[in-house]
Symmetry: C2
Subunit: 442 residues, 2 copies
């Protein structure tokens, strides 16, 4: 039996503390370079990358295997960890001071010749090509990094939830009726009935406030957007909080606290993410923001019911310049432009206790204080021309006692996109769904 079968695997990141030892690594060939009689391999596993030298003088057999190798071959390599010669140290690599001298190479799985080069630091493919070959392109380190960041956003969100004493809930995605009164619903053939895919966990998380008071959920949300933009997907991931016994002011403090907690966690975990500034997040009402845009950027949108995409970019530039903040909170959108469950500001009911959080020019969060009074809620539903009957179970929660409450919802893919300065939200979803694509092009 070969030595290879008897040794325990060493992760690539652990090789640096095994100089002079024989180790067994397992991973993927990332790059193969031939230099005269030597073969150099870059090998990756889940912990990192390392250079492997295949020298026929060390092992003829390993060299013969080495000559077969191409990118994405899966291998087990037995070899000695050596310090690299001084001039060849790679400072960009955490294992850059060592290399493995191969004594045995076993090919676990072969790869066909790749349809494009993947050896560069960037992948540089057009979006359709990137997505057509998704199960291959995700392996490129720069692409994989996006989803390491995404995993850290999720982890940071959960850490915030734990610190705020919130309980996780699991909410369904199959619903009856257009609960938020919007169009753009995907219809599901549900046995002999019509159902829809949920636009958000909103109504369910509200129903859970009297149960656990503070709840969170990570939920899929579906919108049949009839257009193709760089910042919309048909299936997205929402990170949601809903909190009882709070005021509007407390909600603003909470959402900013959670956002900062989450972003800090990502920055602490992923050194390659650009530094985000968020010492003091400016808060503006919609009308104040529009006033600034008029004054500073010359566009008069002061009667509009929302910021335009360009407004969002500009007000973020303003916040960055004036307040050194990559985040800005916008409050008080017009009541009738918001869903029925958002509470009007009692001092000026034309505007609502709603808020968005903008990050580098894009809305990454929205939410508000909720209408918690049953009669007002019924009226708000009727005012929007919706049927009260469709909300029977939801309204029941308000009929039997509901504290003042509110919440907010982050868009996972949007945060990912902006943290990494991606130009299209499709790059921030492992397997993006839109009008034109469900894995394959439609």
């Amino acid at each position: 039996m070969s030595k290879l079968k008897m040794l325990k695997r060493t992760l690539i990141s652990e090789t640096v503390s095994n100089v002079g030892q024989i180790v067994l690594i397992k991973g993927f060939v990332r790059i193969r370079r031939d230099h005269g009689k030597l073969i150099f391999l870059d090998v990756r596993d889940r912990s990192g990358f390392i250079q492997v030298v295949v020298n026929p003088k060390i092992s003829e057999k390993a060299y013969a295997s080495g000559q077969e190798l191409k990118p994405e071959f899966v291998v087990e390599i037995l070899g000695k960890v050596n310090k690299r010669p001084v001039g060849t140290i790679n400072k960009d690599l955490s294992t850059g001071e060592v290399e493995i001298e191969a004594t045995e190479i076993t090919i676990l799985s072969k790869s066909e010749t790749l349809p494009f080069g993947t050896g560069g630091n960037e992948l540089n493919l057009e979006l359709p090509t990137l997505l057509d070959h998704r199960s291959l392109t995700l392996r490129h380190p720069k692409v994989a990094e996006i989803f390491q960041v995404q995993a850290k956003i999720l982890e940071g969100f959960r850490k915030a939830a734990e610190e705020l004493d919130c309980t996780e809930i699991v909410v369904p995605t199959i619903v009856v009726g257009a609960t938020e009164g919007g169009a753009e619903l995907f219809e599901v053939k549900y046995y002999d009935h019509k159902a829809y895919l949920s636009q958000s966990p909103q109504l369910y998380k509200q129903m859970m406030v009297p149960v656990f008071e503070r709840v969170w959920t990570i939920a899929h949300a579906y919108r049949a957007e009839p257009s193709v933009t760089t910042r919309h997907l048909a299936e997205t991931t929402q990170l949601d909080f809903e909190i009882g016994f709070v005021t509007f002011e407390e909600l603003l403090n909470l959402l900013e606290k959670v956002a900062v907690r989450m972003l800090k966690h990502v920055q602490d975990s992923c050194s390659y993410v650009d530094k985000v500034e968020f010492d003091k997040i400016p808060r503006l009402t919609l009308r104040e923001a529009q006033g600034i845009i008029f004054k500073e950027f010359g566009r008069d949108n002061r009667k509009e019911k929302d910021l335009t995409p360009q407004d969002e970019i500009d007000i973020c530039m303003w916040a960055k310049k004036k307040h050194k903040s990559d985040l800005v909170t916008i409050t008080h959108f017009p009541t009738l432009a918001k869903p029925f469950y958002i509470m009007p500001d009692p001092k000026d009911p034309e505007y609502s206790f709603s808020y968005d959080l903008l990050f580098k020019g894009v809305e990454i969060l929205s939410g508000g204080q909720r209408v918690s009074d049953y009669d007002k809620l019924v009226k708000a539903i009727k005012d929007r021309g919706m049927k009260v009957d469709a909300f029977e179970m939801y309204l029941m929660a308000f009929k039997y006692g509901m504290p003042p409450e509110g919440g907010f919802s982050f868009g996972l893919e949007r945060i990912t996109m902006k943290l990494l300065n991606l130009s299209n939200i499709r790059e921030a979803s492992l397997f993006p769904r839109d009008m034109e694509r469900v894995d394959e092009r439609l």
Copy 2:
């Protein structure tokens, strides 16, 4: 301004360390009892329950408010924390040695008279009533407990994932085609196309193995089960792992390790959950299990391709009696009874490297070692009469190098159901979906 508005809220669980102090609590009236000239309230918040005494001699005004109160009213109560008289200590309650003497009561939200009594330790409603009034019945402590346990299962699963160095992935639920070859798919009207709701994150998590090597996801899974049973739902939650560079034996060790880690976490967090025994989990092949059932229970199912529901109950009883284990692992189901991606046992290809984990008479996990060779995978798809074209992106992952790998998937609602000895899986889902119900009855 009243004192009430100036004090910071005290959580009910914190009152025990505030004896003699004036505190402000916020919560829901659970029960009101009138004893002569005194009103006793049981009040709950997210941290627990406490008894409040409303005495007209202390405050006429508080007493007047107290007389208005009914179950589920939302209140703020200002009062003094007193030690209870010795004979009235409630040992079943963590705050049972204290009570609050109310000096001010503010009603934040009123409740209509409840359609059924909720004051008992058990709710004791028929299932349809329980679900018709879901947003109310979830508030009952015994019902809420189910979902505290569920949150702890999820947390325990994530702790195991973290300890195993796995990366979280987000997989889509809208898919094209019946990826697992099964029927029972929900059809979605996807723009001008037909799409379906995913039966499992299986193919996506496998595609991610070459990216992160070890991945996990918590995903919704959909099955249009045409029948109504006590252990099937149309929308369920799966807890999934997929791991590269593993053998079948290692997978069995891993799944048992994760299951035990998760169940232990729940037991450490929730004292009211029955103790689970799992020192040494017995492992049986399907045929061995059927042999035991024949010998011990007299039913000859030795040629069947799976355990029957009664077999699952009986083999768990056997494992409990013989091995003091509430868990039992069953391996080697017939290859053709399993999906195409499950690897046949090379020593006896009629049977496969598949496994189920049974817990108290029900399967709570299934999985297997995967076919990682491209040609074998294509053949397995064709052998089952499916179209290779439908798996283009999935197969791409195998064309470009795939290590030996495998994984498993837990059913969240089933674990919840069995941990709490619930008789119907609908009780283990906040808002269960089945043939007959999507919140309201269909």
